[in-house]
Assembly symmetry: C2
Homo-oligomer: 351 residues x 2
């Protein structure tokens, strides 16, 4: 794609998403001349191996970004808010996996299969959408192109790794406790910063992120607002119910949608999806072929199946969408944005 | 409620639902003069304690029903199909927890909070609806009464105990295997009689029961057809996506519904639900109060929360509905039907 190579920083290198970013950069053979691994003070000093070489993780400070071409941020919203303006000042193009800048009108919010063209107007920051939004828009964009889109109602089935490694450890410890007939203690989920914590093992918690005044959670509002922005459909009707489940990695979504044009068949919708970028259609009920996290995790694609026409509305459809929340939902989409920026010649090399 | 007492048979006494039926009959102090515990040949001979007395489980045959007033069936559709006509011939009123007779036009399909009056026309058989249907209609009926109901889109989060004790054991064994880094073997879920079996531990399987030709599963079609029948709304738009999850007991449902009348507020809907029979409203987002299986299991009620108005449609609402699938979803609803039959004087005592 290019014969240039880039000075890259990964901020949040020790986290669940940061680790997947490094794995993805290795697998994609991303053109890196210098790699800097950054983190909070707490994780600084750890050693991480990349392409067979040991790297010492450094504390991220404004000066860390001197000479960097591209930085991938995944260390929480407050780190992004503090350091991205500093990095941009130093000429770095930042791909941010947090929600800090997603709804800023000057910041493109990009899923390359849907709106790669929005990268053209970037001013140093590109936001990576919320994991549950990404997999949904990849599946809905080919539908929008063919039939238009009026309404989306989504119920999610989200994995604990979306809440970080602490949440994964909590789920495992609780699961062992419950199986041993012991009390399961909770201090992370549903939201580490909220007042109460509940057992996720063998449970379903209808809260991801904090509640807003309208009764929706921030996770639900992210899905609603980000979908409209990415798809350039400000008047699209979107509603979401986001639920945390005892699954380590891999988000699933039950989606009902209504198209603008009526009359498409389920077979036609499947045909569109089977040819769509980033989508793998898994839809053969007779042979029990449908997406599941156990088969989707570790793969970059969005898996779509159980497509069926609504029994009442001629423009209504139901679908089941599964993807690896740490890959397409985070690390892979961020790396893919960086690759698109390079392909479109939108990164000024600093040195 | 009455000073009569009845000769009662429980068919499928050793199963997951049968055990809950016995527990419920004890707790309700159900007026039993004679109790007969029946099962398949395989389980006959086992001993079960009821009200401190040991009972030997007998193989269910047509002759078992001589002299019985009421029989609660929960031993699978084929047992119900074979034995219910024999029991009815012998004057027994049968409450059937299987899907064998649910859609027969001569068989009332009853959730007492919704359509107790349908019991009046029974001809010896009353069907107990599907677990996931029951909890949904208990929550939707007060809405229908106040505002009418046009459309329902439900995505379920269903526990493995709905597939029987074998499924619960399979989930536990798989969970231990996965935590130990071993291969998880599957031979029961998603559907014991289907071709392929998949791991449920740390997974979400979008299949409950077999697939029909239209791409919906039988479980989804049960929710669709039974909801219309119970609520006496043949033209209600209903769609369902049913998903099995690694939860032992307790079904959750994310429900989007549209009312006939527009303009109700979420607060008004909550008010209606807080006064509805069989419903416990748990809806206080500020204090993270919402229904969860960990708090609902073991209780007879249907728990409803996360009520919010759709952001786009003035007649649209979202809700989260949780109940114990073995209690209100099965055992408790069956016992409740038997209690209603007694209350309405619809059981002829045989002896």
């Amino acid at each position: 794609m290019t014969n240039k190579s880039y000075q890259l920083a990964v901020v949040g290198a020790t986290g669940a998403v940061g680790q997947q970013m490094l794995k993805t950069l290795e697998e994609r053979d991303f053109p890196i001349s210098t790699l800097k691994l950054l983190s909070s003070k707490r994780s600084a000093g750890k050693t991480i191996t990349f392409r067979g070489q040991p790297y010492t993780v450094e504390e991220a400070t404004p000066a860390s970004f001197e000479g960097i071409d591209i930085a991938l941020f995944s260390a929480g919203g407050s780190v992004s808010k503090a350091l991205i303006p500093e990095a941009v000042k130093r000429g770095v193009v930042c791909v941010d996996n947090t929600s800090a800048f997603r709804m800023d009108k000057d910041v493109p919010l990009v899923v390359p299969e849907v709106n790669e063209h929005d990268l053209q107007s970037h001013q140093g920051v590109i936001a990576n959408p919320n994991c549950s939004t990404i997999q949904m828009v990849v599946a809905l964009e080919p539908i929008r192109q063919a039939y238009g889109l009026n309404k989306v109602v989504v119920s999610t089935y989200q994995a604990v790794s979306g809440a970080g490694l602490d949440a994964v450890e909590e789920m495992e410890a609780q699961t062992k406790a419950v199986l041993a007939g012991e009390e399961a203690s909770a201090s992370v989920l549903p939201v580490s910063g909220d007042k109460n914590h509940y057992q996720i093992a063998f449970n379903a918690i209808p809260q991801i992120d904090l509640f807003q005044e309208n009764g929706f959670t921030f996770e639900e509002m992210k899905m609603i607002n980000e979908t409209k922005k990415i798809m350039h459909l400000p008047s699209l009707e979107v509603a979401a119910t986001c639920v945390r489940l005892p699954i380590e990695t891999g988000h699933s979504e039950s989606v009902y949608f209504e198209t603008e044009k009526s009359g498409a068949s389920a077979a036609e919708v499947k045909e569109r999806l089977s040819n769509a970028p980033g989508v793998t259609l898994q839809d053969d009920p007779t042979n029990q072929v449908y997406p599941m996290v156990t088969t989707a995790v570790g793969k970059p694609d969005v898996f779509v199946g159980r497509i069926r026409k609504d029994l009442d509305r001629d423009n209504g459809f139901h679908a089941w969408i599964v993807s690896d929340n740490l890959l397409k939902g985070a690390a892979w989409n961020s790396v893919q944005i960086a690759e698109s920026l390079i392909k479109l010649n939108l990164i000024k090399k600093q040195a």
